[in-house]
Symmetry: C2
Subunit: 591 residues, 2 copies
């Protein structure tokens, strides 16, 4: 048993608005894997004095008391994306989620240990306090569930559906009902932008600001485990009818670019169900319901799972079956974890995109830092939005950062075509007529030596897109070169796998203009001495914003938010003149 979260020897990381109270002493498969890859490239960063510190869990090696008993973690550095995912799934299948309204930690652990070895556990807060408990063996989970009871109060009005989501109860004990664990239990909240700006302003270098932002925003080890656990709980519901199925997270939950609190995208994978038949003689076939199309089958299955989640799923609220969407889905809010969940089916191309982003993120730590920074910057200025619309999406922004990094000299990351050429026979992947092949073995990828600092790269990013010929050219990470636009959409970003599609088809001219104007302004701000150097007050409560923090100040760029608003709002003379110059600069790209 490794009780974690007791030795907070890194107070800074602990003070972070961490989702979990006990995040410190853990290392994760993903994090370790990243650290090992980072080692190869850390020399570039050391030159720029940038400390790689992707996750609080990455510090575990420095802690002599923890983690030593977990051999498996040490080996994970050389595992493929899919092997890591599989380990995570397997780990989640051995875990349970327990609501702990009142407890004493020692008694709780003693109770759990009756059912077998507890490998890991941690507490967190979300609509009450919860514990995630990972047992060493699945049999322990079965034993725990065997001993669990149905709620007897109001027994008549409870749906007697059994899952791995449990509540700890205490009868006849002297414990106070609201007794809290020894350590503070941090609520699940995202850091407010103002707090982030203050924190960044206290840093002494822009590079540090960028890594600090990543640290503040990235998923924690615990949050990552919780995501896999929610998938595993949902899998139990689907597996009741499709025992061979799995439910896998995809997108930002596992691509390395997920922000704490981001949605949990999942897909139901039914590929495990085989349809082979004998060559001759009598045989039996399952009689099945036929549908007109694969889409109709997906709709059927999601309809039933959605109904189960809605009617039986404890803590699942706001369930919507959005079955007529292009990609049918079930959306719901999972209160015990706090996740907004989207479940789709057989979304294999999306999984390949996820793997590609993960790979790029692992190749060089600057990739993730830059993506986190650009995404945060874009969200602050309403370039991206949580509401669907004509806005640029996070995925589009990420591809734009990747493309920018491919265009450096020497390139920081290789083109997708190169990754495809490096692919081995096992990497071959054709999905619905699309070639999704690329190398999975990182060691085959030779990265050229580029020593640019994060500060340089951020400034160059804004400059690159401030003058990019969006009117004529398409962004193409497959070729690593801009191509002529095949269509008239204002912004054209080729879908990496479904190459005839435009990732940013939804973006209108106004939104693109706002993006370009913001790039120009940010680029300009980073060149001004009053914004690109620390400006004292580091000990005080409200340090003056500078560097990246200045780029995130809403007031600085309010005028750009929308053309209509700008004319109505009073703007400082400095901003006014800045905007005029931007407007003129922007003209050649139009029409």
């Amino acid at each position: 048993m490794s009780p974690v979260g007791r030795r907070s020897h890194k107070p800074r990381a602990c003070a972070v608005w961490s989702f979990f109270r006990a995040a410190m002493a853990w290392s994760s498969a993903v994090c370790r894997s990243h650290m090992r890859r980072s080692g190869i490239l850390v020399k570039h960063l050391e030159k720029g004095h940038v400390q790689v510190n992707r996750s609080v869990g990455a510090n575990v090696a420095a802690d002599p008391e923890s983690g030593g008993n977990d051999e498996s973690e040490k080996k994970e550095g050389c595992k493929s994306f899919y092997a890591v995912q599989q380990d995570r799934q397997e780990q989640a299948d051995r875990s349970v989620l327990i609501s702990c309204h009142s407890r004493t930690e020692k008694k709780f652990l003693k109770y759990l240990s009756r059912h077998g070895d507890v490998k890991k556990y941690f507490f967190y807060e979300s609509y009450g306090m919860y514990a995630v408990v990972e047992f060493a063996n699945r049999e322990s989970v079965a034993s725990l569930l065997e001993a669990a009871t149905m709620p007897s109060v109001n027994h008549e009005s409870t749906v007697p559906f059994k899952s791995r989501l449990l509540s700890l109860r205490n009868l006849g004990s002297a414990d106070s009902p609201n007794q809290r664990p020894g350590q503070k239990c941090q609520p699940q909240i995202t850091i407010p932008i103002n707090e982030l700006i203050k924190r960044l302003s206290r840093e002494e270098r822009i590079d540090q600001q960028i890594t600090s932002l990543t640290e503040a925003y990235q998923l924690t080890e615990e949050n990552s485990r919780l995501r896999f656990l929610v998938c595993s709980l949902l899998k139990d519901i689907a597996a009741a009818y499709f025992p061979e199925c799995t439910i896998k997270p995809f997108g930002s939950s596992i691509n390395g670019f997920g922000k704490l609190g981001c949605d949990l995208d999942m897909f139901l994978d039914l590929d495990g169900i085989s349809a082979q038949k004998p060559n001759s003689g009598l045989f039996l076939e399952y009689q099945t319901k036929r549908a007109n199309s694969e889409r109709a089958v997906t709709q059927s299955i999601l309809s039933v799972i959605g109904e189960c989640v809605d009617q039986f799923g404890p803590g699942c609220v706001g369930v919507q079956k959005i079955l007529n969407a292009r990609c049918p889905l079930v959306r719901f809010s999972h209160q015990p974890s706090g996740f907004q969940c989207d479940l789709t089916a057989n979304n294999r191309v999306a999984m390949k995109s996820t793997e590609l982003l993960y790979l790029y993120g692992e190749l060089d730590p600057r990739v993730r830092h830059l993506v986190f920074t650009v995404r945060c910057w874009a969200r602050t200025h309403s370039i991206t939005s949580s509401i669907p619309g004509a806005w640029i999406t996070n995925f589009s922004l990420t591809v734009m950062v990747l493309f920018f990094l491919q265009r450096r000299n020497p390139p920081i990351i290789p083109t997708l075509d190169l990754l495809r050429d490096l692919a081995g026979p096992m990497d071959k992947s054709m999905i619905e007529g699309n070639d999704c092949t690329f190398v999975s073995d990182f060691s085959k990828i030779q990265v050229q030596t580029n020593t640019e600092t994060l500060e340089q790269l951020l400034r160059e990013f804004f400059e690159f897109y401030a003058v990019f010929a969006f009117n004529k050219m398409s962004i193409n990470i497959r070729k690593g070169k801009e191509q002529n636009k095949p269509e008239v959409a204002p912004l054209h970003i080729q879908n990496p796998f479904e190459t005839s599609l435009n990732v940013s088809k939804n973006v209108n001219a106004t939104q693109l203009e706002r993006f370009v104007a913001l790039c120009q302004e940010s680029s300009w701000l980073l060149q001004q001495s009053e914004t690109n150097t620390p400006r004292g007050g580091s000990g005080g409560d409200t340090p003056t914003s500078w560097g990246l923090a200045a780029l995130l100040l809403p007031s600085q760029v309010a005028g750009i938010k929308s053309r209509k608003k700008r004319r109505q709002e009073p703007a400082s003379e400095r901003i006014k003149s800045l905007l005029e110059s931007l407007k003129n600069k922007n003209q050649p790209n139009k029409s």
Copy 2:
């Protein structure tokens, strides 16, 4: 293995419009049980030369080649109602349903035997040919399913849901695709009323007509098995989420009064899920979805099961979730069996009513014969209907027959109060505040010697209700005596268990008048020498209708169908005068 359906040594029974092609050589738990009970009472019937022959399966003892290897069947005579039901369920759980488009019986059996001993099997026709196969052990079913494949043609558009409903396929064989088994495969059709009338007219005694009608209408052994199998298949769907649940048939499928082709009423029983909790200390409770009421929980569960049946259930069509009904239900048509199915939940009082009817039916064979005859007579004259409305129901009619038999001198069946007084401690049953206690051990019930023949009883039945004081009195099988009506409903029949309810609350004055008028007419017809004696032509194709057959002739009673119609239709003078006399007779009961 007992291959059945080969030795048709009872051609008459075989020629019956049997639902199955191979009904002859089987004995069933229910039938055997009935035969043993019948033995006690057969003396009364022998006096009246009435041959008890409840089911074709009852003849099995005469067949030296069959059934001898089944020890369990021999013991079933002394089993309680619930023990018989449990055996049937267990039998169904070991069975599979196989669609056989093309086959050779020998090869098919050889294929099946690879997976274990086949205990019983039979073929029947319903939207194609099917086989029900009962293995000796459940492991054989698991083995069979393990070997079964998913349909590979149009694999993309099939819901990969696995159940015990399979299709037999034949690859690379010389068999003709439409090859039929050696014996004829009778389609599932109910005997038309005209055919029944002809058959009855060939009988030589009214008693024989009555037993012949029962034989023609009652459920066969195979149909009974199929009903339990459909419950078992549906249980698999429900057990995916509620492993302890069972799905039980109730009502006419198992009460002994079911007609071939009657609806399959089922209920989901979740009582197996316990809610006990420890007395002290820490313990874990399943987190469950709460609902406002037990009704809301039932609606939730039925909603999910209904969705599964609709989306996944092969051969399940026309699925309706009728969740806002007084008793929420899921209705669907199960094509492979041909059953119209209604699934409710936790319908325990209905199960007690079923058991009571079963018990009354077992106490004396005349009970079932009279009920079948009266129900058939009522249906022919549209006294009952398959459409809900102001009509008398089959259940009401059955209670009226039971009440009539309690009023004989000496009584043929005891009152419900007497059955309650005979109950042992294990029979105690309180359901939702209703005392549903009555004796389950038949041997405790002393039946008095009543030697009336079926002919006498049928005539007396019509006379009894032709003059019954419906305007003042209530029919009460608990007391076995008419009671004063507690309410103004035209027809008042006390619900045997929920004693404050009127079983026939829905019946309006017009429908009651029609029933009384028909009783008067039928009573009168049975007294006429031209209708109550066989009238030759027994060798010909169209024998003259007499006795019971005459009572079923629609033309004889057309005038009574509805008052409006009667005035418009030309009626024979005989019928006209009959009706006038009936009208006058009926007056005192009105106002």
